[in-house]
C-alpha cells in the first residue's frame, strides 16, 4: 500500500515537473516588447547612471547590490533606446546579482519586470511573488504581480495588487496603473484623471514622462478627442525627441486628418528606428490607403520576416502578429490556430478579442460570439472590440445589433482604425 502511494506520488510529481518543464522550454522570447510601465525612476539620467555603475563594478565586481542596480538601469536604457541588446545585458547583470546574493529582492523583481518586457507573463508572476516573499514590505513586486495578472486575465486580483502598490508607493507608476485599471472597466474619465495625475507626478527623467504623455494621449484618442491627443503626443516628443511610440501615435492623428504623406513620414521614422510589428503594419496600412499597394506589400513582407524571426526564437504565440494576420486575411486557418494558442497563453480580454476576431474571419461566428462576450466582460469601452463584435453579430445574421455595435464604435472614436473605421462607416 505504502509503496503504491509513493509510486503514485512520484508519478504525479514527475508529471507536473514534465509539464512545467515543457512549458518553460518553449523559451518564449519577445521582440522589444511594449515597454512595461516604468517604476521607481531615479532622478539621474540613466546613461550616466549606467556608466557610473559599470565603473564601480569594474573595480569591485562582487557587489550584488550594484549588479542589481545595473540590471535595472539597463532595463531603463532598453526602454529609452528601444535596443533589445540592453535586455540581454540586464538579464546577465541581474543573474550575476542573484549568484552573489541569491535572495536579493531587488534583482528578483528586476527579473520580474524583464519577464514582463519579454511577454513572459507567467514567469513574471512567479518572480513577482518570489520578490514579495523576500521583501514583504516592498512596493515594486506588487506592480509586477499586477501587470502580469492583467495580461493573464485575472483582473480582480490584478486590481488588488495595483491598489496595494498605490498605497505603498503613490506616484507616476501607481497612477498610471490605476488609470489602466479604470480604462479596462470602461471608466474613461476616471482613467484620464488618473493619467493626468501621473503626468503631474512626472520626474526629471525624460522617458517615463514621455511615456505618461503618450498614454494620456492614447486615452484621449480612444474617446475621439483627437486634438487633445495630438497635444499630448507632441508633449511627449518635446520631452523625448524621436520617441517612437509618440511618432507612431502622431502618424495616426495625421492620417485621421487626411494628411497621409505626413503620416507616412512619421510612421516611417518610427519603423526605421524600431521596426516593431505594429509600426511596420501601420506603415503598410498607410501606404495601402494612399493607393500604393506595392509599398504596402513591402511593409507587410517585413511582418513576415519578423514572424519568421519570432518562430526561430521559439515564440509561437505573439498576439500582435496574430492580429495583423487576421486583419490582413493571411492564412486564415493557421492564424486561427495561432490565435487560439495566443489566447491560451494570454487569456486577457485582448487575447479573447483577437481569438474572437480570428474565429469570425474563419466563419465560426457562434464560438466567436462567446469570446467577444469574454473580451467585453469588464465593460471596456474599446472601439476596435466593439467593431469586432459588430462583425460577429452581422455574421450571425443580427444586422440590427451589428449596426448598433458599429455605431457605438464610431461614436467612441471615429478614427479607431485605418482599415476598419471606413468599413464600420459603410456598414452602419
Amino acid at each position: 500500500m505504502w509503496r503504491r502511494l509513493v509510486y503514485a506520488g512520484a508519478a504525479a510529481v514527475l508529471a507536473a515537473a514534465a509539464l512545467l518543464l515543457a512549458g518553460s522550454l518553449r523559451g518564449e522570447r519577445s521582440h522589444a516588447a511594449r515597454a512595461a510601465a516604468p517604476f521607481a525612476p531615479p532622478s539621474t539620467p540613466q546613461a550616466a547612471n549606467v556608466e557610473r555603475l559599470q565603473a564601480t563594478l569594474r573595480t569591485d565586481p562582487t557587489d550584488a547590490k550594484d549588479w542589481g542596480q545595473l540590471g535595472l538601469a539597463y532595463e531603463q536604457r532598453a526602454r529609452e533606446t528601444g535596443d533589445p541588446a540592453y535586455y540581454t545585458k540586464a538579464d546577465g547583470a541581474l543573474h550575476r546579482a542573484l549568484r552573489l546574493a541569491p535572495r536579493d529582492p531587488v534583482a528578483t523583481s528586476g527579473l520580474g519586470s524583464l519577464a514582463l518586457s519579454r511577454h513572459r507573463f507567467r514567469d513574471a508572476l512567479r518572480l513577482g511573488d518570489q520578490a514579495l516573499r523576500l521583501a514583504p514590505s516592498s512596493a515594486a513586486p506588487h506592480a509586477i504581480i499586477g501587470d502580469a495578472l492583467v495580461e493573464l486575465g485575472r483582473y480582480s486580483a490584478a486590481f488588488r495588487s495595483f491598489d496595494t502598490f498605490a498605497e505603498l508607493k503613490p506616484g507616476l507608476a501607481a497612477y498610471a496603473r490605476i488609470s489602466y485599471g479604470r480604462e479596462l472597466v470602461g471608466d474613461q474619465a476616471g482613467a484620464i484623471a488618473a493619467m493626468r495625475l501621473a503626468v503631474a507626478a512626472g520626474t526629471a527623467e525624460p522617458e517615463p514622462s514621455a511615456w505618461t504623455h503618450w498614454q494620456l494621449g492614447k486615452l484621449y484618442w480612444a474617446t475621439g478627442r483627437t486634438k487633445a491627443a495630438d497635444e499630448q503626443y507632441r508633449a511627449a516628443l518635446a520631452i523625448f525627441p524621436g520617441y517612437v511610440y509618440a511618432l507612431d501615435a502622431l502618424a495616426q492623428v495625421y492620417a485621421a486628418k487626411g494628411d497621409v504623406d505626413t503620416a507616412i513620414d512619421l510612421e516611417q521614422r518610427a519603423a526605421n528606428q524600431v521596426p516593431l510589428p505594429q509600426f511596420v503594419a501601420g506603415l503598410g496600412d498607410l501606404y495601402r490607403i494612399d493607393g500604393k499597394p506595392k509599398a504596402a506589400a513591402r511593409q507587410y513582407g517585413v511582418i513576415g520576416v519578423i514572424d519568421r524571426l519570432l518562430v526561430a526564437n521559439g515564440v509561437r504565440t505573439d498576439l500582435e502578429t496574430a492580429l495583423f494576420r487576421v486583419d490582413h486575411g493571411l492564412q486564415f486557418r493557421a492564424t486561427l490556430a495561432l490565435a487560439r494558442r495566443a489566447q491560451h497563453e494570454r487569456p486577457s480580454i485582448d487575447g479573447d478579442d483577437v481569438l474572437a476576431w480570428a474565429l469570425a474571419r474563419n466563419g465560426h461566428c457562434t464560438e466567436a460570439l462567446r469570446y467577444s462576450r469574454l473580451a467585453l466582460r469588464l465593460g471596456t469601452r474599446d472601439a476596435l472590440k466593439f467593431f469586432h463584435r459588430g462583425m460577429i453579430e452581422r455574421c450571425l445574421g443580427d444586422s440590427a445589433a451589428a449596426r448598433d455595435w458599429f455605431g457605438r464604435a464610431l461614436a467612441l472614436n471615429p478614427h479607431f482604425s485605418l482599415l476598419w473605421a471606413p468599413v464600420a462607416r459603410s456598414l452602419r
Binding site: 505504502w2 509503496r3 509513493v6 509510486y7 512520484a10 508519478a11 510529481v13 514527475l14 508529471a15 515537473a17 514534465a18 509539464l19 518543464l21 515543457a22 518553460s24 522550454l25 518553449r26 523559451g27 518564449e28 522570447r29 522589444a32 549606467v50 556608466e51 559599470q54 563594478l57 569594474r58 545595473l70 536604457r77 533606446t81 528601444g82 535596443d83 533589445p84 541588446a85 540592453y86 540581454t88 545585458k89 538579464d91 546577465g92 547583470a93 550575476r96 524621436g242 521614422r269 526605421n272 528606428q273 524600431v274 521596426p275 513591402r298 513582407g301 517585413v302 520576416v305 519578423i306 519568421r308 524571426l309 518562430v311 526561430a312 526564437n313 521559439g314 509561437r316 490556430a337 494558442r341
Partner: protein
Amino acid sequence: MKRLLLLLVALSALAAPAAATAHPLGNFTSNRFSRVEVAAHRVYVLYVLDLAEIPTYQAGRIDARAYARRIAAGARLRLDGGRATLTPVATALAHPRGAGGLYTTRLEVLLRGPRLSTTTRLAYEDTNYAGRIGWKEIVVGAKTRSESDELRAYPKDLLQSPLDVTSVTGQLEPAGGSPPRLATGKTLEAPDRVADAGFASLIGRERLSALVILASLGAAFFWGMAHALSPGHGKTIVAAYLVGQRGTPLHAAALGLIVTVTHTIGVFALGLITLALSQLIVPEQLYPWLNLVSGLLVVAIGAAVFRSRYRHQRAHSHGHHHHHHHEHGAPGRRSLVAVGISGGLLPCPSALVVLLAAISLHRVAFGMLLIVAFSAGLALSITGIGLVAVFAKRLFRRASFEGRLVRLLPAASALVILAAGLAMTVRALPKVS
C-alpha cells in the same frame, strides 16, 4: 524517502531548460564602424555597415555603389578645420546567413580622402543611419584595436554598453605604405551574426597554421564539454538510465562513445540534408522533427524500463521466499544503444553552423575535424556524468541502504526517463504541427 527526493531533485535540476540564445545585437540593428587611417600619404576611411535580418529585408536589393556614395556623403571629415571630401574607391558586399533562414548584410566601403604631408588635426563624424539602433564605433589609426573586431564579434561583456561613438577628434601623422584593403570571401562572409558565435568563429579564421588548428581543436573539445553541461543532451536520461539499470563504468563509457558517434553522424547527416535542401527548407524546420523523434525514443525507453521494473516488483511481492533483493542483469546492449542514440541524435545548432560554415569556406575537412573534437568533448562530459551516477549509486548501496528505497530507485529512475521524454515530446509537438 528524503534521499530519494534529493536524487529526484538533482536529476530534474539537470534537465532545467536552456535560456533562449539571444541574437548578439538583436534582429533589427544597423551597426556601423569607421576606421580613419593614413596610408600611401593619403587619408582613408574604412567604413563597415552590418545590417541585421530586418533592416536587410527592409533594404531590399542593395546597390553597393549607391550605398557607398550615400555613406561617403554622410561621413564628415574635417582636416585642420576644413571640410575634406571622401570618395568611395572600393566596395565589398556579402549577405551572411542570419536567424530563421534569413540573410544579414555586411557592406564594406573604402573611402579615399585628400593627401596628407604634415601632422594634421582630425575631426570625423558619422551621420549615416542616425537614429537607427545599433553598434556605432569609430577608431583612428591602422593598428588601433576595434572593440567589435570591425563588427565581426560584438563583446558580450556585461559591463559594456553597446558602443555609441559617432564622432571623434584626433591627430593624423603622415604615413606611407599601401592603401587599406577590403575583406574578401572568407572574412567577409564569416558567419559573425550567428548566435553561438564563440564556437562558430573558429572556422572563420583566415590562415590556418598548425598551432591554430591544434588550438581550435582543443577549443572545440572544451566547447563540447561545456556544451554538454548546458541543458539538454540527454544527461538526465543517461544518468537516470545508469542509476536504474545497475550500470557499470564500462556502460558509462560505452554510452559516451555512442553519444559521440551519433552526434557526429547526426551533424554530418543534417549538414548534408541542409545543403541539399537549402533551397527548399531551413534547418529550423528540421529541428522540431528531430526533437520529436528523440522525445518519442526516450519515452519508449522509459516505458520499457518501467515495465520491466514493475513486473519485477510484482514477481517480488508475490514471491514466497524472502531473499535479498537480487541483482539485476546489467543493461541490455540494445537499450544501451538506444539511450546513447537518443542522447546524441539531436545535433547542436552551433555544431551544424560550424559544418555549414566550413563547407561554404571550402574547409570541409577542417570543419569535420572540429565537429569530431566537439563531439568528443560532449561525450567526455556525458561519460563523466554517467560515472558520477554509477558511483553515486554504488555509494548509496554501500551505505547499507537496503530495503524499499533501493528497490524503488529503478522504478523512480524509469519515471524520470519517462518524464524527460514526455517533456521533450510535449515541447516538440506544437512546433511540428
